[in-house]
Amino acid sequence: MSILLNNSPILILALPLLAAFLIPLIGRINKKTVGIFSALVLAISLVFTILLAVKVITVGPQIYVFGAKSSGLTLPSGLNVPIRIMFQVDAMGIFMGLITATVSFLGAIYSLAFIKKTEGMDNFYSLLLLLTVGMFGMEFTGDLFNFFVFLEIASIASVALIAYRGIDFGEPAEAGFKYMVVSSISALVVLFAIGILYGEYDLLNIAALANVIKYSQLDKIALALLLPVLAMKSGAVPMHMWTPDAYSEAPAPITMILVAASQASLYALFRIVFSLYNVNSNTLAAGWIIIIFGVLSMFIGVTMAIVQKDIKRLMAYHAVSQTGYMLLGVGVGLAVLSNPVALKEYGITSLEGGIFHIMNHAMYKGLLFLTAGALFFRTGTRNLNKMGGLAHSMKYTTIFFIIGAAAIAGLPPFNGFASKLLIYESVYKFNPLLSIIAMVVSILTLASFVKVFHSAFLGPKLPQFNDVQEVPQSMILSMAILSCVIIFFGLFPDLIVKNLVHPAVMALVEQVKYTGTVLGGM
């Protein structure tokens, strides 16, 4: 047992990876079992993530070195360099890992009923597992190049999943093409920046790099290359155009996982600015860049959402808008990072709001995309103009939609309110105007979800939807779990903030905690 627990950082990844490679073999014998098999593997992975989270929160950051007993390699000259590939799981990494594990597990359960076509189904589950592996890797890795590899694994898997229906329809292929091009541009720019950092310091390990980084001209260039492309991968305006395309055309469970994948890029952005550069860089400039991305994303995302007619496209624009909240909260925290007084007064709170919002967003946006998928599953359309009166025949879906919509609009007592409150109050002390924009955006969010609710669920029962029924049980199960999580987070936000979010924020803010675990153990 202890050997499993000691190896848990890698088992979280390696088991889905093994399953992803086994599934084509299993699929040759029996096609029906692959879905249950992958859900099972992801459940095991979720259990390991929870165990690892308990360990990280209580004991401290965990280091896992590949293929050797220690992370360093002592050269004959006596120089000790952290050359090995390693996983470094701290509170922030495991926070994101929990999101990934939950979301991908629920996505697999939802897919059991949602993916009906038997041809190519084993490939679907393989890719879903590979996408999960890529996200976990991005969140756990302590090595820049390894991060690039996992970024590419995640984006290749997600493109294949977005274009999954491209055999029958043109639009998914188009969305996949666009996403592939932008994500390979971003990955190559990331690789270029990694090359710059490597050429300067001969190091790839994030902690070791953070220890020696000087913020020279080259480091500035590396930061300026990493910042916009990682913001792009997380869907920040004005580079958000791939988001509605990809989110609306992917199958619904995949869209939910894609939201988490974009948040993994967001995590990488935070990791770069906090753990790698921290106060060495000009945090005010970097912070304001992130704040401007955030404000633009919030406002343009929500105003574009109001005029949409496609339900998943509308929700995708909301995903852009909600990403803005996270960027705003964390950007304010970053802008005051080198000012200890302001950091203590409102910076930490603002960071807590931004980080907490990541988890909340993954939950309620996942739920909303799943309800949109349920509507598509039964009605066969995503066009809001053609829907109506579905509350008569899909009662559970209606309830779940109301919960998700209330949470995204920031209505108490759901979880969206808790994190938005943290953001409003702390950002108000930094700059009142930003806080007011955030509140206006919240109102517009509510307005546009009222539109969806009215046009899809309310109204008389339409004749063309007479034989519409409630969705199958596996879909209801995953939506119900997400709703329970949302209500729990909404009722007890202090528990989550105290036990999960605050350690994550401190892991980001205190650079020494990150570098010390690697360099101290050498």
Binding site: K178, V181, V182, I185, S186, V189, K220, I221, L223, A224, L227, P228, V229, M232, P238, M239, M241, W242, P244, D245, N282, A285, A286, I289, I300, T303, M304, I306, V307, K309, E345, Y346, T349, L384, N385, M387, G388, P412, P413, F417, A418, L421, L422, E425, S426, K429, A447, S448, K451, V452, H454, S455, G459, L462, G490, L491, F492, P493, D494, V497
Partner: protein
């Protein structure tokens, strides 16, 4: 029990909020029940009054999505027209935006 979430300038507890809402709701229902009770089910009180015009069929009364917030988008036409046109859907523009923003960030970070 009532875990307070510190927000820096105050605190928030969803449990207290829920209890308050329940208490107020009970009060409202109590006050409402004390009022005049002349409503009778299944009489002509149930029917909508449209100045004597015949009632339209229920199916035709559904308001579809593009009619909602028509006034809002019409009033903000000057804002929406360029914004919607910005989303051309052409992959060339997507890469243009990425390159442009990267260059701007390069300049800002390089100067600061």
């Amino acid at each position: 029990m009532f875990g307070l979430l510190e927000t820096g300038s105050g605190s928030w507890s969803a449990i207290i909020w829920v209890i308050t809402v329940l208490v107020i709701g009970v009060l409202v229902i109590y006050v409402r029940n004390k009022g005049e009770d002349s409503y009778k089910k299944n009489t002509e009180q149930d029917k909508p009054f449209i100045s004597g015009n015949p009632e339209a069929s229920k199916e035709s009364s559904h308001l579809s999505a593009s009619h909602i917030y028509w006034g809002f988008t019409e009033a903000l036409k000057g804002y929406y027209k360029p914004l919607v046109e910005m989303h051309t859907g052409s992959i060339n523009d997507y890469s243009c935006w990425i390159i442009t923003v990267t260059v701007i960030v390069l300049i800002v970070i390089g100067v600061s």
